[in-house]
């Protein structure tokens, strides 16, 4: 990826503005990470609680750069056949069947077995050539002419073995295929890895990446996000609901409401034509914010004080 081709990434401020124009409001920290990743050609490992916009960051970057987004969703048991490449077995088989008849013509006049094998050798490994290679996401990202944004989502869900598989890609932007050799990236892709911290990633992987931790946003930032995502909502209600969610996060919950849930909630309140927070309204819509029955019942006794806190502001 040539630095000059992407004036959108010239400075940290430009990135912030660019993201904003696509509706992604980010902190300076996030913009700095993208800026550095681009200029140092390093992958970014994004960690943070679910729903703070880790995946969204990669998507928006691809929109900002107008590059294709290539996504690899990780899960337990993901292996190289699904992540890197696979041979097109069917095609190989079909071709051998078709070519069987041609074989007679080819070997005509050959004296003995040795000479026949000799002749066959001249054709090289046609069946293990790039034509028969089925590229999977990682290889596909290497093959893009103009570069790409590669998103390796929830890398913590994959196995340890898979992590080691990624190391070559992350440090040298190349992939080794035993039958062909090393495939280097045509243009260095922007790589995002996301993790929900369900387990610690290996040091080797972390070492190769810039590490970005996205926490829950500050009050002010979250309000800006809601303003950008749900523009029609009343201003007073917006600041109230953001304040409410923030105090909700102070409670000891199984799963804290994330930005995506705040957005959903704002949308539902808009749909219900609410113009201020009251207890009934919250009680009926709380399930948009909280996804566990335990959390909901733990919150209900606190509701009144939470509301007064939110509306006092």
């Amino acid at each position: 990826m040539n630095t000059k081709d992407f004036p959108q990434l010239d400075s940290i401020e430009k990135i912030e503005q660019g993201f904003e124009s696509f509706g992604y409001i980010c902190s300076t920290q996030i913009a700095t990470a993208v800026f550095l990743a681009f200029h140092l050609r390093k992958p970014i490992l994004v960690e943070g609680p679910p729903g703070v916009g880790k995946t969204e960051l990669a998507k928006t970057t691809s929109e900002l750069l107008s590059l294709p987004l290539i996504r690899l969703q990780c899960y337990e048991g993901l292996d190289e056949a699904k992540a890197l490449y696979e041979w097109k077995y069917g095609k190989q088989l079909l071709y051998t069947q078709v070519l069987k008849e041609k074989l007679g013509d080819l070997l005509q006049g050959a004296q003995g077995l040795a000479e026949s094998v000799e002749r066959l050798h001249q054709f090289g490994d046609i069946f293990y050539s790039p034509d028969f290679l089925e590229p999977r996401p990682l290889l596909k990202a290497m093959q893009q002419d103009k570069g790409a944004v590669l998103l390796i989502d929830e890398v913590d869900k994959s196995d340890y073995e898979f992590e080691s598989l990624l190391l070559e890609l992350l440090s040298d932007y190349q992939i080794s295929i035993p039958e062909i050799g090393t495939v280097k990236a045509k243009t260095t892709p922007m790589v995002f890895l996301t993790s929900n911290n369900t387990r610690d990633l290996s040091d080797a992987l972390k070492r190769r990446c810039l590490h970005l931790y996205i926490p829950f946003p500050t009050l002010e930032l979250e309000e800006r996000i809601i303003r950008s995502r749900v523009p029609d909502i009343d201003e007073v209600l917006r600041s109230q609901l953001v304040q409410f969610v923030h105090s909700l996060r102070q409670l000891d919950l199984k799963k804290n409401p994330a930005i995506s849930e705040t957005i959903d909630w704002a949308r539902s309140l808009l749909l219900l034509h609410a113009n201020k927070l009251d207890e009934d309204l919250i009680r009926t819509t709380l399930n948009v914010l909280l996804k566990f029955e335990d959390d909901i019942s733990a919150t209900e006794p606190e509701l009144r004080s939470l509301i007064s806190e939110a509306t006092a502001q």
Binding site: I12, T28, Q29, T32, A33, F35, L36, H39, L40, K42, I44, L45, W87, Y89, G90, Q92, L93, T96, D159, Y160, R199, D200, D203, K206, R207, R208, L210, H211, L212, Y213
Partner: protein, 478 residues
């Protein structure tokens, strides 16, 4: 500036932030791209390359604050004059303004007295014209801070380790700055009983205070991490029951740190191939490439069952301290050892696993100590254990017994130990007494030893860590 960055990385390392040389190079690249002009960009950028967990990020921010804090405290007479908060790189005209302001704010204009005195004394004049005095008189904090830093580097302040060295380094830096000239001038003025004396003394004191503050800050930055490492080293070698009470929370942290290290080392799930069960679909798929001939076979894999661990701890007075740490260790390893059941005994035995579910580890241990403490009876306790858990012991079970085997001359009930020995995969006995004391007096250790796969002396954290490490190794490898 690279050396500055490197010493910053040194400090981070001394505070348990793991930074590899590759990451150091990244940090240098980042500095090259971002520059030093914007402090918050630098903070964000460096934290991405150097600190890779939330804890590390917190440590990083803290160190960054200290390390890149260049500005000295305001040392002008009363720091309520807002005009003195001038940006650093104003030219001489601005500096002139500041001193004008200063003079205006002080009625008697003490500096003028000093200058008057200087007119009669060439030596004093030379001193006042020197950089150091100029900086002091003009409240030029940035300049002074730079000079301080350079002097600190020259005397090797980064090597400071003990708080007792603070005075020594302060003196060295003062010498390096040329403070003795001021001192001499003060003596001169004293002799002459000059009116400028108090003013010069004041500047001398300001300088001394600044240097002291600077050394103090650097000490906190450089030495604290090193001292903590030193402390950890000592604590891990001390006999656990000798630990002073106020070190206990430190030891808890240490145990947690050790457990985390072990967990990271052993948490790899191992897959073992199940011989005899072919993974048909995978084998056929692999065979297609060879015209359906299955050259390579794939076997079905299963995850190995996680081992079960039964920890049996003597919680009588003599051994309670050790039991506490063993349990702390085992329960800090929840990720790697999910199936830990624990039992506590002294005169009788009971299962205490539930305490660890209901309470945080430290609290649970306290409760257990309180409930089961008393005089030891191994025979009785083993019988209780057999009735509670003997049926659950199978070839996947490791039994860890922690105790001094001092049975108060009671019946050892060796036959129960033997049946445990026969059923379990492993029986480990940890004894806090040193090996020489085993079998002396009322100790039944030598007898019990015959029914154990492995016995070990275990009285400090280092030994405990080694044993748990071994335990994890033997339980995870098939």
């Amino acid at each position: 500036m690279h050396s500055k960055l490197l010493s910053f990385i040194q400090i981070l390392r001394s505070r348990d932030v793991r930074i590899s040389p590759a990451e150091t190079l990244d940090a240098m690249d980042i500095v090259a791209v971002l520059g030093f002009s914007n402090r918050s960009f630098l903070h964000d950028g460096l934290s991405m390359a150097l600190a890779k967990t939330p804890q590390e990020k917190a440590t990083f921010s803290q160190c960054f604050e200290h390390f890149f804090k260049q500005e000295l405290l305001d040392f002008s007479r009363d720091s309520d004059a807002p005009s003195e908060r001038q940006p650093p790189d104003k030219d001489s005209v601005a500096a002139g303004e500041i001193s004008d302001d200063d003079i205006a704010s002080r009625p008697e204009s003490a500096d003028a007295v000093l200058e008057n005195a200087a007119q009669q004394d060439a030596q004093l004049q030379a001193l006042l014209d020197g950089n150091l005095m100029q900086n002091l008189m003009q409240n030029n904090r940035n300049e002074l801070s730079l000079v301080l830093n350079q002097a600190g580097e020259r005397v090797g302040l980064a090597q400071i380790q003990m708080f007792t060295q603070k005075g020594q380094y302060t003196r060295k830096i003062l010498d390096e700055l040329g403070e003795e000239h001021i001192r001499q001038a003060v003596i001169e003025l004293e002799k002459n009983n000059s009116p400028a004396l108090s003013q010069l003394q004041r500047y001398r004191d300001i300088l001394r205070e600044q240097v002291r503050d600077y050394v103090e800050r650097e000490y906190l930055l450089h030495a604290e991490g090193k001292n903590k490492q030193f402390m950890d080293e000592i604590l891990s070698k001390t006999r656990l029951n000798n630990l002073e009470h106020h070190y206990l929370h430190k030891v808890h942290d240490l145990v947690r740190k050790m457990a985390k290290k072990l967990a990271a080392k052993h948490s790899r799930k191992r897959r073992v191939s199940k011989r005899g069960q072919l993974n048909m679909s995978k084998t056929i798929r692999a065979g297609i490439a060879n015209d359906g001939i299955m050259f390579k076979t794939y076997w079905k894999q299963v995850r190995k069952d996680k081992p079960q661990i039964l920890a049996v701890c003597d919680v009588s007075g003599s051994v309670a301290a050790y039991a506490k740490f063993l349990l702390l260790f085992l329960y800090s390893l929840q990720d790697v050892l999910p199936k830990v059941r624990s039992f506590a005994f002294s005169s009788h035995l009971g299962e205490v696993s539930d305490y660890f579910v209901d309470y945080p580890v430290e609290k649970a241990i306290e409760l257990i100590n309180w409930k089961y403490g008393g005089a030891t009876d191994y025979g009785n306790s083993l019988m209780d254990f057999a009735s509670l858990a003997l049926d659950d012991i199978n070839s996947n079970t490791t039994v860890i017994i922690l105790g001094d085997a001092r049975n108060n001359n009671g019946d050892p009930k060796l036959e129960i130990m033997q049946s445990i020995y026969q059923r379990a995969k492993q029986v480990i006995w940890l004894n806090p007494e040193s090996r020489k004391a085993w079998g002396t007096g009322d100790s039944d250790m030598l007898r019990y030893q015959s029914a154990c796969h492995f016995t070990a002396e275990c009285n400090n954290l280092r030994q405990l860590e080694r044993i748990v490490d071994q335990l994890l190794k033997s339980t995870s490898v098939a």
